[in-house]
Symmetry: D4
Subunit: 256 residues, 8 copies
Amino acid sequence: MKPDDLQALLEQVASGDTSVQTAQSQLAKLPFEDLGFARVDHHRHVRTGSPEVIYGPGKTAEQIASIVDAFFRTGQTAIVTRLDAEKAAAAQALLVEAKAAAQYEPVPRLLVAGEPLKAQGQGTIAVVCAGTSDLPVAEEAARTAELLGNTVERYTDVGVAGIHRLFAVKDKLQAASVLIVVAGMEGALPSVVKGLVPSPVVAVPTSVGFGASFGGISALLSMLNSCAPGMTAVNIDNGFGAGYAASLINRVGLQS
Amino acid sequence: MKPDDLQALLEQVASGDTSVQTAQSQLAKLPFEDLGFARVDHHRHVRTGSPEVIYGPGKTAEQIASIVDAFFRTGQTAIVTRLDAEKAAAAQALLVEAKAAAQYEPVPRLLVAGEPLKAQGQGTIAVVCAGTSDLPVAEEAARTAELLGNTVERYTDVGVAGIHRLFAVKDKLQAASVLIVVAGMEGALPSVVKGLVPSPVVAVPTSVGFGASFGGISALLSMLNSCAPGMTAVNIDNGFGAGYAASLINRVGLQS
Amino acid sequence: MKPDDLQALLEQVASGDTSVQTAQSQLAKLPFEDLGFARVDHHRHVRTGSPEVIYGPGKTAEQIASIVDAFFRTGQTAIVTRLDAEKAAAAQALLVEAKAAAQYEPVPRLLVAGEPLKAQGQGTIAVVCAGTSDLPVAEEAARTAELLGNTVERYTDVGVAGIHRLFAVKDKLQAASVLIVVAGMEGALPSVVKGLVPSPVVAVPTSVGFGASFGGISALLSMLNSCAPGMTAVNIDNGFGAGYAASLINRVGLQS
Amino acid sequence: MKPDDLQALLEQVASGDTSVQTAQSQLAKLPFEDLGFARVDHHRHVRTGSPEVIYGPGKTAEQIASIVDAFFRTGQTAIVTRLDAEKAAAAQALLVEAKAAAQYEPVPRLLVAGEPLKAQGQGTIAVVCAGTSDLPVAEEAARTAELLGNTVERYTDVGVAGIHRLFAVKDKLQAASVLIVVAGMEGALPSVVKGLVPSPVVAVPTSVGFGASFGGISALLSMLNSCAPGMTAVNIDNGFGAGYAASLINRVGLQS
Amino acid sequence: MKPDDLQALLEQVASGDTSVQTAQSQLAKLPFEDLGFARVDHHRHVRTGSPEVIYGPGKTAEQIASIVDAFFRTGQTAIVTRLDAEKAAAAQALLVEAKAAAQYEPVPRLLVAGEPLKAQGQGTIAVVCAGTSDLPVAEEAARTAELLGNTVERYTDVGVAGIHRLFAVKDKLQAASVLIVVAGMEGALPSVVKGLVPSPVVAVPTSVGFGASFGGISALLSMLNSCAPGMTAVNIDNGFGAGYAASLINRVGLQS
Amino acid sequence: MKPDDLQALLEQVASGDTSVQTAQSQLAKLPFEDLGFARVDHHRHVRTGSPEVIYGPGKTAEQIASIVDAFFRTGQTAIVTRLDAEKAAAAQALLVEAKAAAQYEPVPRLLVAGEPLKAQGQGTIAVVCAGTSDLPVAEEAARTAELLGNTVERYTDVGVAGIHRLFAVKDKLQAASVLIVVAGMEGALPSVVKGLVPSPVVAVPTSVGFGASFGGISALLSMLNSCAPGMTAVNIDNGFGAGYAASLINRVGLQS
Amino acid sequence: MKPDDLQALLEQVASGDTSVQTAQSQLAKLPFEDLGFARVDHHRHVRTGSPEVIYGPGKTAEQIASIVDAFFRTGQTAIVTRLDAEKAAAAQALLVEAKAAAQYEPVPRLLVAGEPLKAQGQGTIAVVCAGTSDLPVAEEAARTAELLGNTVERYTDVGVAGIHRLFAVKDKLQAASVLIVVAGMEGALPSVVKGLVPSPVVAVPTSVGFGASFGGISALLSMLNSCAPGMTAVNIDNGFGAGYAASLINRVGLQS
Amino acid sequence: MKPDDLQALLEQVASGDTSVQTAQSQLAKLPFEDLGFARVDHHRHVRTGSPEVIYGPGKTAEQIASIVDAFFRTGQTAIVTRLDAEKAAAAQALLVEAKAAAQYEPVPRLLVAGEPLKAQGQGTIAVVCAGTSDLPVAEEAARTAELLGNTVERYTDVGVAGIHRLFAVKDKLQAASVLIVVAGMEGALPSVVKGLVPSPVVAVPTSVGFGASFGGISALLSMLNSCAPGMTAVNIDNGFGAGYAASLINRVGLQS
C-alpha cells in the first residue's frame, strides 16, 4: 500500500464512501504480514516514503521469492540488494505473481519487481567514481537513486591521481543538488570534491585496494576524517545505502 | 565576501557602474590571503555557500585571532570549533577588529565572530540526543545549524532503553525536514529513529561510554551498519560536521 | 551417568543394597574416559547439570563418532555443535551404538544422540531475531534450549528498522522468563528489547552484515555497550552458548 | 512509583475508592518527567522491575542532583554509577529532598538515594574476584546486587595462578544460585569457575593489566571465547551491569 | 656440516692431519650456498646447534626440493614446516639425493630428510593440549621436539572446562623439565598449568575458535597477559616454534 | 604522448613550422580520453615523467584491453599491475593494436605493452629480499624499476636469521644509489640494511607469515617504526609502488 | 615456608621427631592465608620453586604492606612489581615486621623484602637492550633474575641501526645460557641476536616509540613473527616476566 | 669523526705522514664509545653520510647531555629529537664541552650541537603542509633537512578542502627535487600533490584530528594506500624521519 492509496482510503472513510469495517479489513495487514520466517513491513512505504528493500545475503532463494511476492501482491515495488546472479535466477524461477515484473541487474546486483517510483527528486544526483574498479558500487548507488525516482548523472574514473580529469567536470558537479562520491584505496576523492561544490556529499568507501587498505577501512577513515565539512559517510561498499540516502536528501523541501 | 556581494559586484561591472580595474582590485584577495602560517580561504563562502570554519585544536591563540580577524575584515562570519574556554579567552583578548563581535559558547565550544547567516533552510532540523551525557555534542550540532541559518528543535534524553520517551515525540520527529541523531555507548538510537521518520538522518556517534565503547568506535560502527536505510554518519563527536551537513541538506532544492 | 543415576547409586550404597566395591567399579570411569585423542568428561552432567557438548570444527568425523559413542554408551545425551552436513553424514555412518539415535538438524547444524532432557525450566525462553538472515543462529539457540528441557517461543524478523513489528509482540516478550535476542549489523535490537521487558536478556551478535560490520564486531560492541542494564552477551554467532546459558538461567531457583 | 503502588492505585480505581480523575492526575507523570536536559523515566520500575540507574560520567553535579531528586520525590530509589568522590560531594550538597537519604560509597563509586529493595532474590549471588586489584569492580557488582535485594557472598583473590585457593571455596561456589566472576589480565578465572559449578556465570572483564591487556580487551575476549558453556559477559569494568543482570537472573521463576 | 664434523676438521688441522688448503676447500661452502633464489645456510647448525628449517608456504615444490637436497648433500637434516600434502608429494617426487630419506608427516605437516638428532635434552618435554581440535598444532610441537633429540610426553584434551582431567595428570606435569601448552579459544590452559608446575612453560595459542576469537588473537592475548609468571609465548599456531624453543630450553646447562 | 614529443610540437609551433590549429588538434586528447568506464590519462607521462600504470584487480579483461590499446595508440607504454595469468591471457586475446607488443610476466604479474623506458637512472637500484617466499613481491619491484629505465641488482634470501649472508654482500649494497628491501614476518631486514648503507631505502612489507603477522601488518609496523633513519615504506606487497618510487628517487638531480 | 623447610618438617614427621599434630598446626596456613582482601599463597614457593610476586598497580599501600608482612612473617622473600616511588614509600612506612628488610629500587620499580635466593642458575643470563630508552624494562628483567639467584650480564644500547656495536659483543652473547633481549620501536633486535646464538632467547617488547608503534604493539608483533626460531616472547614492558621465565629456564636440568 | 677526516687520516697513513700506530689510536674509538648506558656510534657519520641523531624520549637529561658531549668532543654534530622544552633546558645546563654550541628549537623540538652540514643536496626540498595544526611536524621535517645541508622551501596550509590554494603554488612544487607532504585527518594531500609533480614524495601523517582519526592512523593508511605511485610514507608525526630520508634522496647521484 502506497501513501496515496492510504490517503484515498481514509478520505473515503471520512466521506462515508467506505465503511469503517471495510477500511479495517483492508488495513488489516498493517503494519506487517507474518510469513513465518519474515514479517513483511507493508507499512514502511507509508511511514518512510520509500519502498521496503530486502537484504539479499543469508536468505535462501525461496525466502527471497516469498518476500518479493508479498510486496508485489500489495502493489508495492520490491528491491533486493547484494544478490548474486545465481541466487537471483533461482529466486526469479520461484516467483509467482511478481514473476514477469522482476528484473535482475548484474552489475549493481539488484533484483527489482514493480515499477520504479515516479520522478520525485529535484535537480540531479551526481554519482562520482574514483576508478574503474569502483564501478559496481557506484552503479549500485546510481541505480538505487534512479529506482527511487531521481535523475542521475555518472562521472567515472576521475580519481585524484590525475586531478585535471576531475576539474574538467567541475561545473557539472557544482550544478548537482546532491553528490555521491565513491572511492577505494586512500579514499581522498570525496574530500576534494566537497571542497569544490556547494551541495551535500554522501561518501561511499569501497573495498578496492590491497594490503593496508584493510578491505575498505582506509577509505572509510578518510571519509570520516575529512577536513571538508558537509560530507557524510555510509558503510564500505554500501552503494545502495548511499543511493537511498541521497534520494531522501534530494526530496527535502518537497511535499514529503 | 559573501555570494550576494560577489554577484552585486559583477553586475556593476556588467552595467559599467564599476570599472574592471576596480573590480579586479576588490577581487584581488581571491581566492585566499596568505598569513604566513595559514592561507585564509576568502573564496569558500562564494564557492560552497557556507562560511569558513576554523579547526581550533593545534593552533595557538595568536593564530586563531589572526585568522578570525582576516575573515572579519572582509565581512565574513568566522566560526572556530573545538575551542576550550581558556584558549578562547586568550584569542578573544588578542582580536583586533573582530573583538566586540566575537562570542564564545562554552557548551558547544564554539567561538563565533560576525552575524549568523539569515534563515535559509526550509522546515526544521531536529537534533535528537540519546542521553544527557551526549548533550555537548548535540549542542555543537544544534548551534552550528542555527548559525548557518536553520530553525532547530532539540529532543534530549530519548535513548532506546526507555523507548516510550522517544515515541512521545514521534510526530514532531516525523515533521522535521532533516534529523541529527546523537548517541554514544551502543549508538542504537539513530537506527530506531530512522525507522520512524521519512526524512534523511545524519547520525553522530559520541565518545560517551567506557570499556569496549573504545572512545566511540562502538557507536560509530552501529551507525555505519544500520539496517535502516537513509542514514549517513559523521566522525565521532563531530557535532559541528553534522550540523554543517544537515544545513546543506536542508537547503537542497533552494536557490543554492 | 546422569545426576539421578548417581544419587540412586549412592543411596543404594548408603542403604547397603549395593556394595562399595560394586559402586566403585561403576564409578570407575569417573571423572573421564581417555580415548587417546580426547578425554570424555562423563562427570560433567553430574557436576554442571547439563550434558557434555562437543565442539565440531577441527575434529575428524572419526573423532566425533568415537566421542558420541562414548557418551551414548554411558546413557548420556551428546550434542555436537557447528557441524556441517557433510561431516555430520560421515560421523553418523561411523557411529556404532548411538547410530539409530543420532539426528542431524541442518539449520542449527546440531547432531544429537540420546533423548532431550525432560522439561526443567520454568516459564518460557523467548528467542527474538532481528532479520531472516539471522535465523540459523537463532535456531541454534532455540534448539539448544529445547534439547536442554525448556519451552521456547520464537519471534522472527522484528528488527528495529520497523519497530512496530516488535511492539506487536511486546506483551508476549514481557511474559517470558528469559529472552535470547539475536541480531547482526548494528545489533541494536537487544537494547530495545531489554528496555521493554523485566527479565534477563542474553544477547547474541551475528556475523550478518558487510563492510564495517567486521564479521560481527559491530553487533558485539553494541551489545556490550548497551545502555539498557540487565543484558549480557555471548560470542559472535554463538547461538549454542546463548541457548545453554539461558537454560541455566531458566532453572535458577529450582532444585539445582 | 513502584509496582506495588501502581497495583494499589489501580485496585482503588476498580473498587471505586479512587476516582478516575484522581488516578489520572497521579499517573500524569507517566511515563516520564521532562527536566529539560533529561527525561526521567518514572515508568521504568513498573516496566522492568528495577529502579532507574543514572550513568554518572558526562553529567554535571547539578544535573545529577536534579535527576536524583526527581526520582526521590516520587518515592523511588535512585542509583548513580561511576561517580567520583568530588562530583558526588558536589551533587550531595545540591540535593534538596533526597539530601539526607543520599549515601556515597567510594569503593564501588555509587551514590544511592532511597531504600534498597527488599530481599527478592532466591539463594545467593557469589561475587568471585581474581585479584586484589580487581576489587573495586567486584565491589560495584556486589553492592549493586545487594541494593537490588539480593544476598551476596564475596570470594576475593582466588586467581588461577594459585588454583588451590579457588578449590578451597569450591563447595560454596557450587551452592550459589548465580555467580559473578571478575578478572583482568588474561581473564581465565570465569572459565575455570564455570567448569566447576552448575549455575549461570556472569563474567566481568576488568582493565587491570598492562601492555597487551589493552585496557581489558584481553580479558573480555577470553570471556567471550570461553570453552565452558553457561557463561555470559558484560562490558569491561562494568560491575554495575553484572550486578544488575545477576539480580534479574536471581529472580527468574519468582513473581516477575 | 654438523658441529661435531667441524670440530673434528679443525682438530685435524691443528694436529697437521689435514692441510689448511684442504680444510679451506671443505669449508668453502661456509657460511652459505647460493642457489639463486635462496642462500642455504650451511653454517646454522654450527652456529645455533640446530638444523636449518625451511618455511614451506610461498615456496614452489621445485624450490623446496632444491633446498632440501642442498642440505642433504652436506650431511645435514632438513625440516620443512607448514607443508600441505599436495606440495609435499610434488617436492618428494623432485628430490634427487634426499629422495629415499624424505618422510612426510601429515598431521604436523612436516617434511623431514635426514636423521633426527640424537637424544640431547635432559628430562622430558610435556606437550599439553586443551582440546582435540588443537591436536595438529600440538603434534607439530611434539614432533619438532622429538626430531631435535628430546623425549616428549603428550597430554591431550585437558582443557579448563573440566579441570579434573588436568588434575589427574598433575604429577606427571610437575615432573617435566619443560612444558608446551597448546590452547585456542580463551587460551586459559597455560595459566592454569603454570600455576601448578615449577618448570618453564612455552604457551602456544591456536586459531581454534570462532567469532571473537579472531583467528587466535584471543588466545594469544591471554597467554601474554598471564598472571602466572614463568610463561612465554610464541605466534598463533606456531607449534614448530614452540617445539624448537622448548628443545633449546631443555638443553640449557648441557654442553651446548 | 611522451615529454619529448610535446616539447618538439611546441617548438614547432614557436618556430611557425606547425600551425596553432594543427597543434591544437594534436593536443585535443589532452589531458585525457573518455572511454566511458575510464578516463585515460594521456597527460600523465608529460606531467609526472612516468607512464600511466593500470591497476588490474576489479577490472574486466575487456576494460583492461581497451585501456592498454588507448595508451598504445598514442605511442605510450602501458603497464598493468597485479594481473593474474588467466585474466592476462583474456586481455591479450582482446587487444587490437597493442596485441603483438603485450608481454605478460607471471612472477611479478605484470602485463606490459610498449617499450621500456630508456635507461635514465644513475647508479643501480638494489632489490634485497629476506626470504624465498618474498620473491614475487621483490620481482614486481625489480621489474618495475627496470621497465622505468633503471639498472637493477637483486639480492635474494638474505634474512636476518643468518645475518652473515647479508654481510657477504654488504659492499655491493653500500654501492647502490637506492635500495628496495622486501621482507615479511617480523620485517626486520630493512632496519638492518639501512644501518649499513648511506643511500635511501624503500621498505616493502610482504604478507608472508601466519598468525600474528596479520597479513603483513607486523612487517609494515616494523618498517614504520624503524630506529634507522632514512627509510620510508610503501603498502604491504606493493612491489610496484616501491619500484616506481625508487625509480623517481634514482632520477633526482637529473634533467627531470 | 621455603621448600627446604617443608622437606625438613616432613622428614621430622617421618622420623617421629615431630608429631603429626604439631606438623599439622605448622602446615595449617597452607596453602594460603586469608587477609580478607587477599589470599596469600604461602604454598607457591613449595609448588613452583620461586617466591610469590605481588603485582603493585591497583593495590593500596596498606594492602601491599599487609601482603609483604604476611610473607615476611613466614620467612619468605616478597617482591612487589611495577610500584611507583610514592606508593613504595607509603608502603614501607606501613610495614611492621618486614620494615627494615624492605628495599625499593627505583629504576626497575621493585620493592623487595627478604633475602635474594641463593645462586641457583647455571651459567649466565645475558640481558641485551636495544636503546637507552629501554633501560628501565631491561633493568627490571636483570634485577628479577638476580633476585631469583642468577648471574646476570648486561649489554646496553646495541640496537640494529649500528649493528657493529652488537657484533662487538657477539662472543659474550654466544656464551650465555639464556638471553633476554629488550627492544621497542620495530623490535628487530631479538631476531638478529637469536640468529647469532645457540641458546634460548626471551624477547621483551617495550612501549618505547611513537605513532604507529602503538604502545609496543609493533615490537611485540615483530617478536612473535620472528623468522629466527628459538625465541619466545612476553608481554609489552614485562621485564619482570622475562627475568622470571629466564630464571626458570636457567635452572632446567638442575635439581628442580 | 666526519668522512673527510677519515679519508685524510687514511691518506696520511698511505703517504707515510702518519704512522699506523698513531692512526690506530685515533681510530680506537671506532666504531663506538661505551658510556655505560649508551654506546655512542662515532662511526655512523662515516658509514651512512649523516650525523647520529639521538631519540629524546625515555632518556634523562643527564643521559642526553653525556651523549651530546661525546659526539661534540669528536667534532661531530649531534641532533636530539622530540625533546620537550623543560628537558632541553636541563640538558643544556649539564652540557660541558658542547655547552655554548647547543641550540634548542622549540617548534620542531630539536636540540642541535655543532654546525649544520654544508649544503650538499641538489635543487630544493619542498615541505608542504595541509593545515596550520600540522605546522610543528612540518617544521621538524624542514629543519632536519636544513641541518643536513639542503635548501628547503615551505608551503603551509594548502589542504585539499580549498584546493585552489594548492594550485596557486603548483609550478613551484613541480620544480622541487623532492617533496615532503605533511597532513593529518584524512591525509589526502600527498596523493593530490603526487598527482601533480614528477619528483618523489615523502608523505608524513600527523596525529592532528579527533575521533576516528585514531591518532593519525587514518592519515597513515591514506598515504600507504595512495593511488598516486611514487609516494612513500614514514611513521605518524615523524617529521624528523621524513626530513632525513628526503635529504638522502636529494643527494642521490652526487658523490655519496
